[in-house]
């Protein structure tokens, strides 16, 4: 799954932080209600961020340097 899809995954997680506890779990007054739900969201946010950033490398951002070169080329023209 691409980074872009994982980013969309984060937006869905954020939206569910509002919808699920307020609309669906309002009557569940136990640990397995909103508390567990937000715990799971927290863990999924960590997983999503690991996946979004997995192409971050120790070299200078290849994407940025490529565009840098393009910019220089453009200026020379």
């Amino acid at each position: 799954m691409s980074a872009r899809r994982w980013i969309w995954g984060v937006w869905i997680l954020v939206l569910s932080c509002y919808v699920v506890p307020y609309a669906l779990l309002g009557q569940v007054q136990a640990w397995y209600g909103a508390f567990l739900f937000w715990c799971v969201i927290g863990v999924l946010v960590i997983v999503a961020n690991i996946m979004i950033t997995r192409t971050f490398s120790s070299d200078d951002a290849p994407e940025a340097s490529t565009r840098d070169d393009e910019l220089h080329d453009h200026r020379e023209q």
Binding site: I41, F56, S58, A61, E63, E70
Partner: protein, 491 residues
């Protein structure tokens, strides 16, 4: 808890912290040719592990162990949801981090406000962003200082005065940030972060154990305080309040310069990744622990007069041995100081880079650095005076800080993604948006029944877009900036 024990712990903390700060001195921050980027950004060479711990200590202030525990005590599990939405918002670092990093490296930005001034080709944008940051963050730092004053006074039963507590925190913050700039901030932050997480987790486990374990804790909550396990729960977290709190905090990682400036610093994107993931793991544990404190206090002491007393009462109770209580007190002190010193360092870099350098045009890097180092203690003294005076306006500005700073977000997102955005649009959205937030907080007015936290972002977005469309953008600076950030294509 004896006064000797409290002072002993504070002095040990001071000595160890100072030792680490002095050891952190290096060529980049204290050498002969040190410049703005060296002192304030560690020469953009910070490693991932230290960055992660420092980012955590800077983000999480004394609010967590005192305020969030209190919010959980009063409002139940909704407080946890509020923090989790903020936590999810830090994912913005994964999206915007590489872009900040790339443009920072290419154009030599030291501050996020300088970045906006360059992107919109107008120094006034940088000046106004820096001024707005000072307006909201100095009062925020002042309230943190006051929190340390209350903490030490409360835990010593008044033997240590409020003023002594505030002086101690101010001095620590000045020393930790002055000795080696960002390096001493980051290294002391790292030490403090480890201390914060270990001490708070230990106490949470101990207290939960003495209350019969996790199952017993949640069983008691379910039978005696069932509303605390759902939202809106006891009433504090109505849906509109929840929205009003969470929207500004979701954008914290972009709107608050003391953390967004960190995006210029990692040595590589790999280091940035380590910073982000390390922070998320730290933040998740710290959030759960702070919420458990609040729940534990609710079970152990259900009749407290004020929810802010949840943590002090818990620490002073038989559930926590005095030595551990004093260790956590130092942990809370560390949490406050590590936030204040980062704010002070960032604000001083903004005032010298974005205000002084724009007024005294042609000021050299060395001169800017000199001014920045002078401004640092001045900001600290200002925050100290605000903390001592305890003016109601300061309290209002502090509470409004997260909402007030969110008005900068449209200009930041627009800088990377909307080439049509203009300086006039950015200026209007920040100035008018900021004034609207202050007016709403001061008057207490809630248009359509919605709090300022909900209004701030749409108001500033509309202003940014509308005024930008009415004015002429600087296409060349937008193009150059967005090409570097990777958000525009070459023609």
């Amino acid at each position: 808890m004896t006064i000797e024990l409290i002072w002993g712990a504070v002095i040990i903390y001071l000595i160890v912290g100072l030792g680490v700060a002095v050891l952190s001195r290096g060529k980049t921050t204290n050498g002969a040719g040190v410049d703005m980027s060296g002192y304030f950004l560690g020469n953009r060479q910070m490693n991932g592990f230290v960055s992660a711990l420092s980012y955590s200590a800077t983000t999480y202030s004394a609010f967590m162990m005192v305020g969030l525990a209190g919010l959980t005590y009063a409002g139940g599990v909704g407080a946890f949801g509020f923090e989790i939405v903020y936590f999810a918002g830090v994912s913005l670092v994964a999206i915007f981090g590489p872009k900040f990093w790339a443009v920072g490296k290419r154009f030599g930005f030291v501050t996020p406000s300088e970045m906006l001034g360059h992107r919109y080709a107008d120094n006034k944008v940088a000046v106004v962003t820096a001024a707005a940051s000072c307006l909201f963050l100095i009062p925020y730092a002042a309230v943190q200082l006051a929190g340390v004053g209350y903490l030490l006074a409360g835990m010593s039963g008044g033997a240590i005065s409020f003023t002594t507590g505030v002086v101690v925190a101010t001095l620590l913050a000045i020393l930790f940030s002055y000795i080696a700039g960002i390096r001493s901030v980051m290294w002391t932050d790292s030490l403090q972060a480890l201390f914060m997480i270990i001490a708070s987790t230990l106490v949470a486990l101990l207290v939960v154990h003495s209350l019969g374990g996790f199952a017993a804790l949640f069983d008691t909550l379910a039978t005696q305080h069932p509303a605390s396990l759902s939202v809106p729960g006891p009433g504090l977290f109505s849906f509109t309040t929840f929205l009003g709190l969470t929207i500004p905090w979701f954008f914290f990682s972009l709107s608050n310069p003391q953390v967004s400036q960190r995006l210029f610093m990692p040595a590589s994107l790999k280091a940035m990744r380590q910073m982000l993931i390390g922070f998320l793991i730290f933040g998740f544990i710290y959030t759960v622990v702070s919420v458990l404190w609040g729940f534990s206090a609710l079970v152990a002491f259900p009749d407290l007069a004020k929810s802010d007393l949840a943590t002090p009462t818990l620490l002073a109770s038989e559930h926590v041995p005095p030595v551990l209580g004093v260790i956590v007190m130092v942990g809370i002190l560390a949490a406050a100081v590590s936030t204040i010193d980062s704010i002070m360092l960032t604000l001083s870099s903004m005032l010298s880079r974005d205000v002084y350098a724009n007024v005294a045009t042609g000021a050299s890097e060395a001169k800017q650095l000199k001014v920045g180092k002078w401004v640092l203690p001045i900001i600290a003294i200002l925050a100290f005076l605000f903390a001592e005076l305890q003016l109601s306006l300061i309290a209002v500005l502090s509470v409004a800080a997260s909402t007030g700073l969110v008005v900068i977000v449209p200009a930041i997102i627009g800088a990377f993604y909307w080439k049509r955005g203009t300086a006039a649009g950015a200026l209007t959205s920040i100035v008018v948006g900021g004034l609207v937030v202050i007016a709403l907080y001061l008057s207490g007015v809630k248009p359509l029944g919605l709090p300022a936290g909900i209004w701030a972002l749409p108001v500033s977005v509309v202003l940014f877009v509308a005024v930008s469309l009415m004015t002429r953008p600087n296409r060349e600076s937008a193009r150059e900036f967005m090409l570097t950030a990777g958000t525009a294509q070459t023609d």
